[in-house]
Subunit: 253 residues, 6 copies
Amino acid sequence: MANKVKEAWKAGKAVVNGWLAIPNAFSAEMYAQCGWDSVTVDMQHGVQDYLSCVACFQGIQPSGVTPMVRVPWNEPGIIGKVLDAGAQGVICPMVNTPDEARRLVQYSYYPPQGTRSNGPIRAGVYGEAGGYQKTANENILVIPMIETKQAIENIEAILDVPGIDGIYVGPSDLCFSYGLEPKLDVEDPFVLGIYEKLLKETSKRGIAAGLHNGSPAYAHRMIQMGFKLVTISNEVGLMVNAAKAAVKQARGG
Amino acid sequence: MANKVKEAWKAGKAVVNGWLAIPNAFSAEMYAQCGWDSVTVDMQHGVQDYLSCVACFQGIQPSGVTPMVRVPWNEPGIIGKVLDAGAQGVICPMVNTPDEARRLVQYSYYPPQGTRSNGPIRAGVYGEAGGYQKTANENILVIPMIETKQAIENIEAILDVPGIDGIYVGPSDLCFSYGLEPKLDVEDPFVLGIYEKLLKETSKRGIAAGLHNGSPAYAHRMIQMGFKLVTISNEVGLMVNAAKAAVKQARGG
Amino acid sequence: MANKVKEAWKAGKAVVNGWLAIPNAFSAEMYAQCGWDSVTVDMQHGVQDYLSCVACFQGIQPSGVTPMVRVPWNEPGIIGKVLDAGAQGVICPMVNTPDEARRLVQYSYYPPQGTRSNGPIRAGVYGEAGGYQKTANENILVIPMIETKQAIENIEAILDVPGIDGIYVGPSDLCFSYGLEPKLDVEDPFVLGIYEKLLKETSKRGIAAGLHNGSPAYAHRMIQMGFKLVTISNEVGLMVNAAKAAVKQARGG
Amino acid sequence: MANKVKEAWKAGKAVVNGWLAIPNAFSAEMYAQCGWDSVTVDMQHGVQDYLSCVACFQGIQPSGVTPMVRVPWNEPGIIGKVLDAGAQGVICPMVNTPDEARRLVQYSYYPPQGTRSNGPIRAGVYGEAGGYQKTANENILVIPMIETKQAIENIEAILDVPGIDGIYVGPSDLCFSYGLEPKLDVEDPFVLGIYEKLLKETSKRGIAAGLHNGSPAYAHRMIQMGFKLVTISNEVGLMVNAAKAAVKQARGG
Amino acid sequence: MANKVKEAWKAGKAVVNGWLAIPNAFSAEMYAQCGWDSVTVDMQHGVQDYLSCVACFQGIQPSGVTPMVRVPWNEPGIIGKVLDAGAQGVICPMVNTPDEARRLVQYSYYPPQGTRSNGPIRAGVYGEAGGYQKTANENILVIPMIETKQAIENIEAILDVPGIDGIYVGPSDLCFSYGLEPKLDVEDPFVLGIYEKLLKETSKRGIAAGLHNGSPAYAHRMIQMGFKLVTISNEVGLMVNAAKAAVKQARGG
Amino acid sequence: MANKVKEAWKAGKAVVNGWLAIPNAFSAEMYAQCGWDSVTVDMQHGVQDYLSCVACFQGIQPSGVTPMVRVPWNEPGIIGKVLDAGAQGVICPMVNTPDEARRLVQYSYYPPQGTRSNGPIRAGVYGEAGGYQKTANENILVIPMIETKQAIENIEAILDVPGIDGIYVGPSDLCFSYGLEPKLDVEDPFVLGIYEKLLKETSKRGIAAGLHNGSPAYAHRMIQMGFKLVTISNEVGLMVNAAKAAVKQARGG
C-alpha cells in the first residue's frame, strides 16, 4: 500500500494527520473517514496498547489513509510489533541524542540498514506487490520527536543520522523542558524561533518537520510556515470540544 | 444516587442528554464530563452490547450524570440486565401498542408493579440509602419510543399505561413509517403537527416527551417547543463533524 | 466429561455450587479450584454475557468442576449458545408455568426430545467418548427456577413436564413475589413451608431441588433439610465480605 | 458496496462462502483474503457475539468480500443490530413456517416492506452512493435456514413469502429432525432427494439455495447439483484439520 | 483529587491498601468499596496490563480511594502511561541501587525534577484545580520496592535520592535474595531485624515504609511496628480463601 | 505439571511445536488439541500481548500440552510476567552475545541462579506438588533464538552460559542477517551448513536445538537431521493455506 505521507512529502506537500487516543476500532474507523492524509495511534499518551493499535489499524484500513504510530518509548520490542501490525510510520518520543536516533533507526529497518526482525504478520498482507520485506525500508517513515532542550542542542547531529525521514515536534514537552508552561499552539517568540531553526535544518537535509497542534487554525498557519505534517489535537479532544459547545448551544447559551 | 432527569422533570425543566455509540469506557468517561444532564448508552443502533454498556456506565459514574440505556428491544432479559448494571432510565424502541407498553412496564419494575427479578449487582452499590430495591421503582424512568404511525394512532392508550414516565420520539423511524424520508431535525409541518399532539397528550398526563435531534440549534428549539429531554446526535457524530471541519480548516478551506 | 452434579444426584448426594458474577477467565479459574462440585456462570444478574461465559468456562475447565449457566431468560438463542459452549446444566429464571417449562425443555434437548440445533462448537471437544450428540440429552441438566407465587401454584404441573432434572429456588424473588422483603437465608416460617413443599414434590418425582444461599452455614442447614444443590452467594460477594473483614482487622477493629 | 452474492446469483453463478467461528478480527481479516466470495459470521454455533461480529466485519472489510451473518435466532433486536453493523445478508436458523419467514422478512427490511428501525451506524459508511437507506432493501439478502422436517413440509409456503432471497440448508439439523444421525456431506438418498426438491422449488421461484458442507469436494459436487451458495466447514475446522495433518506428517506419519 | 495516602502520611497515619490481580473493572469497582485507603493495580505479578489498569482505575474512581500501580519494571514507557492514566503512586519492583532509584524518580516527575512527558490523558480530568501539571510532582508518590540483599546494602544511598516518598518491602523476594524460603508474614528474627533497620532509616528521613502482608493480623502488627502502608494479600487471594472456607463449612466441615 | 518438552529432550526425542499468532483463547484451545507436544504463544511477531497470552494459556491448559512463549524482547518485565502466567519455556529473540544470554538466564530463574521476582499468580496453581518455586528453575526451559551472523560468531560462548536449555533458530532473520532473502525451509547449503554447526555445538553440550519451519515435510527432515524441536508455520498460516486450497477445490480448480 502506498505511503501517502511519503508521497506527499516527495511532492513537497504538507499532510494533515489525525491522532487516536480512544482504544476502539469503531471509533478509529469513523475518524479515518474524515479527510485525514494519515492517522496516528498514540501509544504514548493515548489510552492505547498494542492490541488496541491493531484494532485501530483494522478500523483505519478501508479508508486507505496511512496508518502510523507514536510508540510509547524508543524500545525494539514495541517498534517491531507496530511495524509488523502495519504501521507505515513510527513517531518516537524523546529522541534527544544522535545515539538515540541511531537506535530508533536500527529498530525500524530491516538489515542491512537496521536489525528489525522479520515477521510482518499483518503488514505483509497489505505490503507492496514485490513483497513487503523488499520495500519496507523504503516505505516506512522513521520520525523522532524533538521535544527537549537537549534535542534542540543536538539537532544537527540527530538530523544527520541516516534513515531519519522527518521529525515531530511536541510543543508542550519542549516548553516544559525550557521551563515554560507546557502547552500547544505556542505564540512565544522564543519557541517560534526554535521552530524556524528546525524548519531550516530539516529543510536543508530534505527531511520533513511535523508539529502537534491544538487547533485547526494554528495547524494551518504552521503549514504555511513550512511544517509538512500537522496533527490537530486528537479524536477525544475534538469530540469533547464539540460536545461542550453543543450542550451550551442546546441550553440556549 | 439521585436521578437528575426525574428531578429536572419534577421541577418542570428540560434535560440535555448525551448518546453513546462507541463501546468504550474511556470515551464515555470523557463524554460524560461535557455538561450533559444524562447520558444514554445506545444498545439498539450504537456499537454497544451489555458488557460495553457496563463499561460505559463505569466511565460515566464519576461525573454524577444520570446513566440511561436505549435497549435493543422490548425483551425482559436485557431490560433486567441494564437495570441491574445501574441504568436509571430505560428507553425502549418501537413501542406501538398499549400491550407493548404494559410489557415494558412489567419488565422494568419490581413487584408488585412489575416482575423484574431481584439482583442489582452493580446498581445496588450506588442505590439510595434505604436500600436499592425499596426505591428502584420510584427512581427508574420507563420511556417507550414513539416512532411509528401505529404508535401515534395508539398514543392515548399507550400513555394511559400506568408506569410510563416519558416518551422518546425517534424522528427518522417516524418519518419512515409515514412513507417520508428518514431524517432528524424535521421541518415538515405534518411531522411537527405530530410533535404538537404528543406534547399535548403527554403534558396533560404529567408525562415528559423527549426527542432525538441532529443539531444543538434544533434541540434548543425543541426545548422551547416543550420537549423535556433532547439528545444531540451521538458522540461519534459530533466527533466526525468536528474532525471534518478541522481537516478542512487546517487545509485552508 | 462426566456431569458431577448428575452423578451426585444419582447417588443421593448434595452438591455445593459456586456462582460467577465477574466476567473474567482468571477469576473463574481460581474460583473453580476452591472445592466446588459445580460452578455456575450467572448471565442473569451477574456481569456476564455469552463471550465472558465462554471465557469463564475455559478458566473452569482444568479444574474438572461441572460448568453450568444461569441464562438471562427462557430464550432459545442463548440456551443453545451456552450449551454449545459447554454448559452441562441450564438454570433458567422465572419459569412460572408448565408451558414455560416445556419451552425450556424444548430449547435444551436435541431431537426428538427437543429442538436444540446441532453445533456444539466447544462442548463437542469435551463430550463423552461416543460422540457429544449421542449423550448430550442424558448428560445435560435442565433446571427451571421456581421463584414466584405463580410458579408455586403451578408447581406440580411444572414438575410433571418431562425432561426437568431439578429446580432452583431464588429466595429473594420468591419473597418479592409474595410481598415480603427480598432476601436470602430466609427464616420466615411461611417461606420455609414453601421449601418443605418443594422438597416433597420434587423428591417424590426423583427431581432434585436447589437453593441460592447467602452464607455457608445456611447452605449447610439446607443440605440437611433436603436440598441437593446449594450455592453460596457469589465470588464477588465472598470477596467483598472477606475484604471488609480484613480491612477492619488490619485497622485493629 | 456491491453485494457480490446478489450479483453472482443474478448472473446465475454459485458463490463459495467462508464461515467464522473464532471471535477475532485478525483471524477474520486473514481468512477473508483466501478467495471467498462472501464470509459469514456464525453467531448461532460459532463463538461469536454482536461485538465480535462487528470486529470480524472490520477485519473482512478491506478484502471487499461480502459480509453476512448467521444470527442466533429469529429475533428483531439482533437482526437489526447486525444489519446496522454492515451485514449484507442474514441467514436465520430454524425457519419452519411461513409465519416465521414473514417475521424474518419484517425484521430485515425497512418500511414499507418491513419494520427494521433506522440507524445504520456502520453500514451507512459503506452504503451505496445514493444513501444506504434507499438501497438497503434491494441490497440485503434474507435467507431462512431450512433444516427441519416441518420446514420441508412447509417449503412451498415459506418460499412464497415475499422478500425471501434464498434458503440455506443445515444438513445436520435436517438429519436430526428426521431421526437420522446429524452430519454434513450426507450421501443418504432420502436426504439427497430432499435437496433435489429444494433445488426445484427454489429454482422455479428464482430463489437461490445454499448448503453447509464439510469438505470442498462435496461442496463442489453440490455446486454442480445446483446449489448457489456453498460453505465449507468453518475457519476453525479447516485449521484443526490442517494442524492434525501437519503434526502427523512432521512425525513421519 | 487529593492523594489520601500522602495526606495520611503527613498526618503520621498508616494506610491500608488493597491489591488488584484480576484484570476487570467490575471486580475492582466492588473491591474499592471495602474500606481501603488506597488500591494498587499490580502490573508485575497480577494478571494486569496497561488497558486493564485503566479499566480498574475507572472502576475505582467513584469510591474516592487513591489509585496506585505496581509497574512491571523500572521502565519510562510504562511509568509514564500509568501516571497519565491517573495513578497517584508508583510502586516499582527491584530498585537495588541509588542509580535505579534516580531513574525511577526521573521517569515519574515532570521537569525540572524529572523527564516525564506531558500528556495526562485521563489523570488531567481528575487533577487538582490549578491544573494537573502544576501539582503532579507534589501529588504523586514514588515508591521503590526494597526486596533484595543488594537493596538492603544500598539502602541509605537509595533513601537519599531526592524525590523518594516511601519504600515498599516485598518479603518473599527479600527472603529469596537471602537464600530463605520466599514467603509473606515472616517471623524470622533476621528478616524482622531488616524491617527494623528500614523503619529507622526511612523514619529519620521522613520517608514512609510499606509492606506486603499475607493476613490482616500480621498487617495490623506491622502498623504497630511502624509501617505506614500495609497491603493484605490481593483480591483473588482473599476471594479464594473465603471460598475454600465457605465450601468446607457448607459441607459441614 | 510435567514439562513434556523437557521430558522428551531427556529421552532424546524431538517435539513438534504449535505456534499461536491469533490472540484468542478459543482458537488456542482448539489448536492445542491437534497433537502437538507443546504450543508457543508468539508475542514477538504474532498478534499477541500479555493478556492474550494468558487467555491462550487458559485455552491450552485442558489439553495438557506444554505452554511456552516467544517473548517480544529480552526484557525482565515481560519475561517475569509470562512465567508467572504459566509459561514452561521462554523463547527469546535476537540473543546475539553471551552477555545477552546471561541476562536472559538471569531474568528467567529464581535466586540464586537468577533474579526473577516471586509471584507465580497463575503458574503456582499448576505447579509441581512440592511448591512451584522449589521446582521452577528445574522445570522451565530457557531458549535463546540464534538468528543473526553475530550470534553464529558467538555461538560457543552463548552456549556456554549456564542455564541455557536449548536454542531456537529463526531462519528468515538468519538469512536476512547474512544478506540472503528472508525465508523458511531454506535449501541453501551455506545455511544448512550453519544448522550442522549448531547441531554439533548444542549436541556436545547436551543442549537441544529447535527450528522454525514452513512445512511439515521440511520439519520432518529437520527432526531427522537432529533438531529436537520443530515448529510448523503458525495456526493462521495453516488455516490460510487450508482455506485457499479449499476454495480452489470447491470451485473445481
